[in-house]
């Protein structure tokens, strides 16, 4: 966690291989990112990382179901398996009845729950969550945090959550603070 401008989002971008870093090394599942080609980085994002954005960033032309299904398709999960996973996740986030709706028709809390399901559908080893409650009211924020906690346990996935809100850290096993681009604690 850290204040605005401390470099939290940049760090997430570096971890998922979208932004290059000058010094140091980042390894995911034992793989150092600096040794990976662009294609390998894409594969890494596709197979090993899930991403939750502050402003949801659902694909506006796909339904909730299709949004969740999309990363599994990218990762090459076969159709039946994909259907099972999506239905299970929709049930887990409580949106089974909203599966056919476009993002425009969903509330902020619902969108973020879809985004969370999307981040988990391809069974990544790491989920990067960039201020996932930043655009939500307190109640929806609380629900989303609880889902992150429960789903990460269920799917045995590590979550790297970025926030400037101290209350959000209650679900975290470890809290690291950042200021001006450096880890301070």
């Amino acid at each position: 966690m850290g204040p605005s401008g401390s470099g939290k989002s940049t760090l997430l971008n570096c971890i998922c291989g979208i932004e290059a870093f000058d010094r140091g090394e980042i390894s995911i599942a034992g793989k150092p990112l600096s040794a990976l080609s662009q294609r390998q980085l894409e594969n890494l994002r596709r197979n090993s990382i899930g991403y939750v954005f502050q402003s949801f960033n659902l694909l506006p032309t796909l339904t909730a179901f299709e949004n969740i299904e999309f990363p599994a398709q990218l990762a090459g999960v076969d159709r039946d398996e994909r259907m099972d996973r999506v239905m299970h996740l929709l049930e887990s986030v409580g949106l089974k009845k909203r599966a056919g709706h476009l993002p425009d028709a969903l509330s902020g809390g619902e969108r973020q729950r879809v985004a969370l399901a999307r981040a988990l559908v391809h069974r990544p080893v790491l989920v990067l969550a960039d201020e996932p409650t930043g655009s939500l009211d307190t109640e929806n924020g609380r629900q989303v945090l609880e889902l992150i906690e429960s789903l990460s346990k269920e799917h045995r996935t590590s979550v790297l959550l970025v926030t400037h809100d101290h209350a959000s850290t209650r679900i975290c096993d470890r809290v690291i603070s950042m200021t001006d681009g450096a880890l301070v604690s």
Binding site: R45, F53, F56, N57, L59, P60, T61, E66, R118
Partner: protein, 848 residues
């Protein structure tokens, strides 16, 4: 606001210069075509004007030939001091090269060179016809001496004293270049050959015959005095023998302008399309700019700038592009006119009347029209993007995610459906009469515009339906993403489809028109041209060169033992109340008997009116003079007004003025002429076609002797030439539509920036992005193809059954070229796919 707007110009100067250039090309095309067609058809055939000066009246016969008998009766007119008479004979000759092959058609004008010096114009600036004034008598009465302007001499590479072989009236002859007129003030056209009147008559085998007598007033200062002119006109008229009429020279210009009215109208419509497509590109480019500046606009909204100001700024930007582009377009048009004028003059010469190119002039009216046109089209093109910019929300709302106000009304099918209904109702409108008896199918044009626009607006629905249908079959993330974006049918997707639908509708409509025309002409040829050989004057082409063959020469040819029967045709112009038409003399028994035609109404199915000459008329004639069900048409002839009444109607695709064919004897009696225009030869049994053809060619080098296949090739060659401009226009229309698609896709990707960023985080590779964009482009192309083909079929039907029938008076067989459609469709989808890929690559590079 203005400052922030125009700072973008500085930052992307290349792009804005391109927009200005697009307007310049559009306005330039319009202005250039206007100036070129004016210069090509303004000269209405008075080629002697350069030498003898402007005339005030013309004395002529309806057949435009005055015989020696009639001429002698004009003697009394010559004695009046108020005017000068300038008799003129003119015709076409063809120069031959050293091998005896035709090199170019020239216009031979015969004038009374001795009496020219008395004309007020020549008296002011004498023309030297010889180096030594004392040698003038040497060329008087000569059989061969001619004078060439510098342009003609350069074209023929001729020098003073040179002998040149020519073809005239079907015979090989020779001319002698007495002098080259180098006077810089003398604007002699570059195909003009001047000779003494008797020399020209001899060369054209028209002894004792002239075409017209021009009257030049002595008191040039009274030329604009209507009362004086009326008095002179009445005096001359009272002195004229029967069969001749006098009219102000400017009336001839009006007649000729009337003949080309439809041609010029078509050119204007075509050139307006250039401005229209320019406007479409401006719309797409300004729309792209609005999307690019969206964040800045949103910030301005947050700072309190209201939508109205944003709208006005957008309009100001469009108008600035329009005005700058129009100013450049006026210059571009002037230069374009120099390039196009030759082509137009050729068309006018081939289809309407003899003309030569006048100096291209840029008038204040041209400048004002160009400026107004560029201004109006830019205003309309800027209106939609300006409205879009106006709807931009404040930055706080914009930053919440993807937002696309777009042109929401595009999603409403009511606009499109209303236009389709309006188009159908417009078909009930009667035709509009324009100059010279031509008719403008106003209802057909309105229906075409409304249907094409209506289908463009409805095409968005087709896009959505097709995408929904395909989405179910798509399994890969790339294709699913692409189809889902198309299913959403954003306004920008719809705008891109609409632009392409217009282009595809036009192109497929023209495909049908050209193919139907070609098939109809081929069938017409197969039926109509059953003779073995066809004879006409060699080297002479075009409607303005109706010289005819020397009758003695044709009589000699027809004595050939291989010829069983010759269908000889005589043609001259004739004037009816509704305009100029063609009067033909034919072997009436043969035409109503064994000569085959495509009959709309076979001979005998219409009862002729009593007291009128029975005639077989072309469909164009029947429609133009409203005698489809019978009736009479009064034609002016040298022997006074005569009535013709149709007894049958045949298909003829040779001219749009219509032809009335009467018996040869009547034709000769009415016109006082006896020069045939062509002959179709039926060979006797046992005659060998090729051998006869070669023998006749060798014996009559001044005549063209062709078999049916060669004649068909020549005619189809002219047909293909006529439609070259249409093909070029089709290509331009499509190119513009695809540039529009590219610009549209840039806007679409710009608007979806956050989507692409998300996809990148999800592991979407650049190749997948490019492929997805390619599918999106291909999907737009498929939807456009579906919508465009439907509107194209409607266009084809309209062009063939409404516009052609009402404008030109001929019926075509409707043919849909399925193979062309298929190839075009595949090509279009491929280009759509590549456009998508290209725009995605370009967009990614710009963003990184």
């Amino acid at each position: 606001m203005v400052r922030t707007t125009f700072r973008h110009w500085r930052a992307s100067i290349g792009q804005y210069l391109l927009l200005i250039a697009i307007v310049a090309v559009g306005v330039g095309a319009f202005n250039g075509i206007r100036q070129a067609s004016r210069a090509a058809s303004a000269n209405f055939g008075l080629f002697n004007e350069a030498v003898s000066g402007r005339s005030d009246f013309i004395i002529e016969s309806p057949s435009q030939r005055i015989s020696e008998d009639t001429l002698s009766a004009l003697g009394s007119l010559a004695s009046y001091p108020d005017w000068h008479l300038v008799p003129v004979v003119e015709g076409s000759i063809t120069a031959l090269d050293e091998k005896g092959e035709p090199t170019g058609q020239l216009r031979l004008v015969g004038l009374d060179l001795l009496s020219l010096a008395n004309l007020p114009y020549v008296a002011k600036r004498p023309i030297e016809f010889a180096e030594e004034e004392s040698t003038w008598h040497e060329w008087l009465g000569s059989e061969k001496d001619v004078w060439l302007g510098r342009g003609t001499a350069n074209k023929l590479n001729a020098k003073k004293g040179q002998r040149i072989s020519i073809l005239a009236s079907g015979r090989v002859k020779e001319i002698f270049v007495r002098k080259i007129l180098d006077d810089r003030d003398l604007s002699v056209s570059d195909d003009l050959v001047i000779a003494d009147i008797s020399t020209a008559q001899g060369l054209l085998s028209r002894k004792g015959e002239i075409n017209r007598v021009e009257v030049v007033l002595e008191r040039a200062e009274l030329r604009e005095d209507t009362e004086y002119l009326n008095g002179i006109g009445n005096r001359i008229s009272s002195l004229l023998p029967e069969g001749l009429s006098v009219g102000p020279t400017k009336n001839r210009a009006v007649d000729r302008a009337a003949m080309t009215a439809a041609f010029r109208l078509n050119l204007t419509v075509l050139s307006l399309i250039a401005v229209l497509v320019g406007g479409y590109l401006i719309l797409q480019a300004l729309d792209a700019a609005v999307v690019r500046k969206r964040e800045e606009t949103a910030i301005l909204r947050s700072l309190g700038v209201n939508g109205r100001i944003l709208f006005l700024t957008g309009i100001l930007e469009a108008v600035a592009i329009g005005i700058l582009g129009s100013l450049a377009g006026i210059l571009v048009g002037h230069f374009l006119a120099f390039g196009a004028v030759g082509m137009f003059a050729e068309t006018v010469n081939a289809l309407y009347f003899a003309t030569s190119i006048e100096a291209i002039s840029l008038t204040w009216k041209d400048c004002a029209t160009g400026l107004l046109l560029g201004f109006l089209f830019s205003l309309v093109a800027g209106w939609l993007p300006a409205r879009d910019a106006m709807q931009t929300p404040p930055a706080q709302i914009l930053s919440k995610g993807d937002w696309s106000p777009g042109f929401l009304w595009l999603r409403n099918p009511r606009f499109g459906l209303s236009l389709i209904v309006f188009g159908a109702l417009a078909l009930l409108l009667p035709t509009l009469s324009i100059q010279g008896g031509s008719r403008m199918p106003i209802g057909g044009f309105l229906a075409a515009g409304a249907w094409i626009l209506g289908s463009a607006l409805l095409s968005g629905q087709i896009l959505v339906c097709l995408a929904k249908f395909c989405h179910g079959f798509c399994q890969s993330p790339v294709s699913r993403l692409a189809t889902s974006r198309l299913m959403d049918g954003s306004s920008r997707h719809r705008l891109a489809v609409a632009g392409l639908v217009v282009a595809v509708g036009m192109v497929t409509g023209m495909f049908q028109m050209v193919d139907s025309f070609r098939s109809t002409i081929q069938e017409w040829f197969d039926v109509r041209f059953q003779a073995e050989l066809y004879v006409s004057e060699r080297g002479v082409t075009g409607a303005g060169s109706v010289n005819g063959i020397d009758p003695a020469l044709l009589d000699e040819l027809l004595l050939d033992k291989s010829i069983d029967y010759a269908d000889v045709m005589y043609v001259c112009h004739a004037k009816a109340a509704q305009g100029i038409t063609l009067l033909a003399g034919v072997d009436f028994d043969a035409w109503t008997g064994f000569v085959r035609q495509i009959w709309l109404k076979p001979p005998g199915t219409i009862r002729p009116s009593s007291g009128a000459e029975p005639a077989l008329v072309s469909e164009a004639f029947a429609r133009r003079f409203d005698v489809l069900e019978g009736g009479t048409v009064e034609l002016d002839t040298p022997k006074g007004p005569k009535l013709v009444s149709p007894i049958g109607i045949f298909s003829d695709y040779g001219n749009e003025f219509g032809t009335a064919a009467i018996a040869i004897d009547s034709w000769k009696e009415w016109t006082g002429a006896d020069r045939p225009i062509n002959a179709s030869l039926y060979l006797a049994d046992g005659s060998e076609l090729e051998e006869t053809k070669q023998r006749l060619r060798l014996s009559y080098p001044g005549l063209d002797v062709r078999n049916a296949r060669e004649l068909r090739d020549v005619a189809l060659g002219i047909f293909e030439q006529t439609f070259k401009a249409t093909s070029a226009l089709n290509a331009i229309g499509l190119a513009v539509a695809f540039v529009g698609l590219l610009l549209g896709l840039f806007s679409i990707f710009d608007e979806s920036a956050s989507t692409w960023s998300t996809l990148r985080h999800l592991g979407f590779s650049p190749v997948q992005f490019v492929l997805s964009a390619g599918f999106e482009g291909a999907g737009i192309a498929v939807a456009s193809l579906a919508g465009g083909t439907l509107s194209g079929l409607a266009m084809g039907w309209l062009l063939i059954f409404v516009v052609n029938v009402q404008s030109f008076g001929w019926t075509l067989l409707w043919k849909v070229p399925l193979a062309d459609f298929l190839i075009f469709g595949l090509l279009m989808v491929l280009v759509g796919f590549l456009s998508g890929c290209l725009s995605a690559i370009h967009w990614s590079r710009r963003k990184t």
